[in-house]
Symmetry: D3
Subunit: 244 residues, 6 copies
């Protein structure tokens, strides 16, 4: 299998973090292709940047679509998910979507750790779009950007573990760490938390492989059917080649 | 008042249709500035095109933001709404959002007419995002592009009226015609329908003026607070000027 | 335009407060007709008083219906809303309904300030009836009747601002002050609150004008269609004239 | 036990129908006191008439409250329910509320028969207020006033049975006949219907006795706590005696 | 009437507690038959034990079904409710179901006291299955097994009263004590709580009698219709006799 | 990996059908252990049989738990899911749960094919328990037991394809065939259906492998934490060994 792990932010560091976690989780024989956004935000953390990121995700996927068996969106807003699921003939999975769905199989109610009070409403709306708001026990927020710095993570990890434990105390039976930069971080802290902990890449990579192995056919009707003959201007030719 | 009626599609015909309807509805002294998208779909009718349109809407608004008192999004997917509401210091209203909110004050349950079965799920998700799915009595769909052709509308209007009447028969107490190109069409058919009929510009222009007259302050916290200091690349300088 | 601002309580002081705020918000050329309830509670603050108030609102509207272009219900339980919307041929808006709908366009989630723990459940049910419970981030309650006293409002305003700030801290992206007596109070405190603040008259007056300018037709079927031929006894002749 | 079966319509025929059914269902030793509304609609069938009926219900209950052990509201909109539950020290039950709650124990999903398309939205809102919309499988409507005529009911019963069977075919596992005038009608048709059938008096009378036998204490806080010291004018002295 | 009060736990003490409370609540002439589970958990307090208890409940009911007019399930998870309602020709009521439905008629929002944080999620799911999650104001949990010990209950009662008062402070307008062992405990503490308090037997016994007096017919279609001709092995012959 | 594919029905034919499909879907190196229920229904098709099946599932899992890396419940009611997820230290997945979660990643709204009108409500409640009712576009039902007969499936497949196409016409963007006996049937018909089609084993086997590869830790608190020290009687010693 050849999987595209794509980050529509323009910061390669986050892409690498996600790709590295993905490679550790991949089955033997699975190749991970990593790709970083060509324009837009260094790190999306607002509605405006996510709006630009929707286009950046389409652009990125279109340019890397050849020979890919599936796509894992390594932006925790699952930016571009609906568009890519429509545009591409292969399974597409959002990292947060994957973590939420996997979490549904590990506990009755889910706790979520966000990073930045400003973006928490965006995640809440994302969860609501998946129809899963009723499965959320509690949210907590950490105001830290420590995850974006290389080096020792022990202070960050202590904060993560404390947040996850607090969520368990509020009734969460499984905890998800949001944020692409959290790729793999759940492995570091889970021993300290009394309920299972996931992050988006940890859940997403195996689940994407599973979806591919289900061999679902591409929709031919409905809002996810393949596109042809669309009239577009001012966009990357790769997009026009796919849906024009 | 100076209002931006913006259509992030690249088809000026739709912009003109919306702007024309807006001008007829505007209060004395209100100036309508119309603007058409710079890139992306001729007419958005898919998730992929809407994703590109999110960026096009941000781009368009940023370039026309100076001296504007409010924005009416004249794309019926309300493309870019969250981003613009965050990015700009003035009220921003989506045309479908406006029609739904106004409809809530005219009937207990709403009927919706969409144009194209493929896009109906996108509208359903939009309604759900506004938290208003519970207010919808019924949906109907017309597979027609007649509204995009100039000239006599009598055949189209007969179809619209029939669809609206059918919705009333299914319990809708008010009907909304979706689609930017429907701007003003509700006036043509309402006599034939036993419940009130709205379209997005008919509801949106007066409601935008009302919002401006409420003089709400701009949020300073939360996901709609103004942005500064964001790192962006590869986008129109107007965007960077607003939020960079 | 000629707008009826009606308060089905029997306390003229509240009517005047609302009417005064309404006049400041009205467009040039709009005339405000204020009316106070003929029987029932001095100030409704219980389910029983609201039940009586439903009749008082119908009675009041029927007696003032001639020559009116729209009605703003200046009781924050929106007492009589459904009945008046059915009975009258013109747009009718509840002050709390208006504030909630306007708030939906200013933030993703709304904070609400009620006055009296006893009545908060009544407001919660009202919000649920509008289908908007999912949009509420948090509620807070102030046990004060200070707003009913004339004179200096600085102590009250400090409490209001503190309550609104607390709601913002709990995730509210816009705050609504409930209560007819709060008419205009949001203007006094908004500078101290990091998110937009509305009250029911501030939202309701402009929105009622907007609804009138949409020129919706009166429903001829459904539960809001006009009434004729109803057999009633023991009520004001004005009611019988309208629907008898 | 002494139970008040009260009908806030002014038509004694409906009261008698309900009281007669109630007496057949009552336990030995239970006395049924029947009361008819003093003002308002002959038969409520609109929002306006229900609004007046809210007051009429308060008026009626206040005048008959002495020595009563419980109240069954024999108007199928459960008119006045919230007010009476607050105002009176004894259990109060709405006939439709009772039928819905009992139906919840007989089937997973409920079918409802309404009489008049115009009023069906009012019943839908009532069900939503009880939080039970999710339990409804299907609605059907009969446009008939046959139930208000004395004499042979065989034609009406055939219609009722057909409607109930149709609901069962749509997945209803229990059927409720709405309407005070349907008191006892479920007994006449149930043999012809493959799922249990209830009406509001059949469910309400036994359930009211059950509530009384639970001996619940009256709330001293919250929106159903007893009222004292309220300032009212222009209402029946009995109301003022109870809550003034 | 002859009512089966059945406890599918194997601990007779709890059965006796429930049966004793039931007898005090029963109408004159009602006979209470008490029955204890034949296999499974001493006291169910986990999902695994409840799963075994589903079978134990079916087994118990089948063996005691002869000559019974109705069944009250005296396990607070309402274990076996769906199965028994299908299998038996008489009304079956869960004790928690009954308490929730009765509570709906006493207050707008309900507070629930659970015993053991581990089982609270199971109760939450139960409430959700009844479609009543929206009616719950707050939950509280007591980590105590004091109720299982005979003798003085004053310390336990103080804890119960404190928990109930706390729920009232959080907006509960009626409180339910969960747990079969709480049978009758609400009578002991209600004087100390400002809102009505119920327990499952207090609500369930009168409501079961009421359901029987409604004389509902047994469903002949749907998922609660009677069963015949089912092929089973390895179960008590009484089960096979009922549905084989 | 060693996976237990367990069918708590007593009919080995269905187990074999599911295990055969599972083996075709398994990764290289994955071993499938199949197990059939020891008591209860030949084929569960009622609430009573599912209740017995809850115990049978616990019994079956306890006796086969040694050396297993994960469990796929091959009964389409996901019988025993909560209990097994609590009792066992390894991932447990229900076949219908898996199909629903996978379907969420292939379309916005899901269509479901059930077999037997009597059991459809049970599936509806199952979907509701997963919190996914909002994702369902439509249900259809086939009254056929053809799938339980060996041999040519062409007539059955034509019915399945027709049902799936009808669901797509009602807005389903992905279809799930319910029923353990449908294992692998989606592969046979998908070419004839314009949207993706899944069955529970097709989705469940790969997803179970994915969950195992995520290596989630076992919960130590909450309702899914491991059990010890429980007092049980009259059950298989294997159960007592696991949780006693």
């Amino acid at each position: 299998m050849r999987l595209l792990v794509m980050n529509a932010n323009t910061t390669a560091f986050v892409t690498e973090r996600a790709a590295e976690a993905a490679r550790r989780l991949a089955s033997p024989g699975t190749e991970i292709v990593a790709a970083t956004g060509a324009f837009g935000a260094a790190i999306m953390a607002s509605r405006t940047e996510c709006a630009i990121g929707e286009h950046a995700a389409v652009d990125l996927a279109a340019r890397h679509a050849d020979g890919i068996d599936g796509v894992l969106i390594a932006v925790s807003y699952d930016t571009g998910l609906g568009a890519l699921r429509e545009m591409l003939p292969v399974p597409v999975l959002g990292m947060t979507e994957a973590a939420l769905l996997a979490a549904c199989t590990l506990g009755g109610s889910i706790g979520l750790v966000s990073f930045g009070a400003r973006v928490q409403p965006i995640y809440r709306e994302l969860v609501a779009r998946y129809g899963l708001s009723g499965r959320i026990a509690a949210w907590t927020n950490l105001e830290t950007t420590a995850a974006y710095k290389p080096g020792d993570t022990s202070a960050l990890d202590a904060d993560l573990a404390e947040a996850a434990c607090a969520l368990a105390g509020q009734g969460a039976e499984v905890v998800v760490l949001l944020g692409a930069v959290m790729a793999g971080a759940s492995f570091r802290i889970e021993d300290r938390v009394p309920v299972p902990v996931l992050d988006g890449i940890r859940a997403g990579l195996p689940m994407l492989e599973a979806l591919i192995r289900m061999r679902p056919l591409k929709a031919r009707t409905g809002s996810y059917a393949g596109l042809t003959g669309r009239a577009l201007s001012g966009v990357d030719p790769a997009i026009a080649r796919l849906i024009g």
